[in-house]
Symmetry: C2
Subunit: 197 residues, 2 copies
Amino acid sequence: MTDRPAHVVPVDLAKAYRLINHGPTVLVSAAHGGRRNVMAAAWNMPLDFAPPKVAVVIDRKTYTRELIEASGELVLCVPTRAQIEAVSQVGSTSGRGLDQATDKFEAAGLTTFRGDQVAAPLVEGCVAWLECKLLPEPEMAQRYDLFLAEVVAAWADSRVFDGGHWRPIDAAHSTLHHVAGGVFFTLGEPVKSRDGD
Amino acid sequence: MTDRPAHVVPVDLAKAYRLINHGPTVLVSAAHGGRRNVMAAAWNMPLDFAPPKVAVVIDRKTYTRELIEASGELVLCVPTRAQIEAVSQVGSTSGRGLDQATDKFEAAGLTTFRGDQVAAPLVEGCVAWLECKLLPEPEMAQRYDLFLAEVVAAWADSRVFDGGHWRPIDAAHSTLHHVAGGVFFTLGEPVKSRDGD
């Protein structure tokens, strides 16, 4: 795990929701007790503006969930089209039982850098990252696999998102929007309503 | 409110999640006691496959929420780029205080048709519809404005989604993915991972 790259800049927490408001599939990372893991989650959404909160569905059989529940922390990373094979791989395999030298990040060719507020790693090559602390709602987790969390730090690749706004995005840096079975939509052009600000 | 148009076909409930899995902004409609209303909600996601469930954030000041809580029912409609002005209008105005003759649908130029399982209307011109019954989680609503619901019927425009899969989508029929302030991403081309089925 390296230090934060220079192109990764902080995002004002009040605008952090904009990093996932358009519905991208995310990578969820977690770490606890010297172990770490990562999975894919299409089922995520903002839950509040300020303080920013998110909701994400995390299946009870996943190893990532064990680490999230043990640490109380997670990171949502927003991957790109260039990472489709890694997203698909971490979305369809388990990190349980892998050793620390070759964990699930390594197996998928994903490198990471350190966050600021949580121990869970941030995946390099993504365009946005939300460092989160779990909100204690164990009944929601038990009943629906639903996790709620507060965003305590947010980062973006300044070449793709800066000053609270997405910049024009080339094909390789499009976010991924999973439909099913390894098929994703990419982003097309942005459009604006007449009364948009 | 008219009968269901011929191009609107039922979607297998086990595949209903695919209608919103890619993160579109939806219209939320509700009806109760002879009144009806509609709002926009970017903060929605699937919550389960079978029986299908969804989660959606609905602000406590909205009139739609009053009707959802009174009726226990709602419909998520997936609008298109061609409807951007109506989506923006119902997303930024309240239906409270409008009369029944000129309600919020009428004011935004939206026509509707009848669903099969709930009284809330389905908005014409959308490409998908999820008829839902509320799951009783009043603490989640109170604490987070978060509503969970079971999908009891699902429909799609067969020209856009058929047999459980999205078909090639022309620009006008792209779903809308709200960023902020009336700016939306549209969909680009679909991409598939090597191990996608």
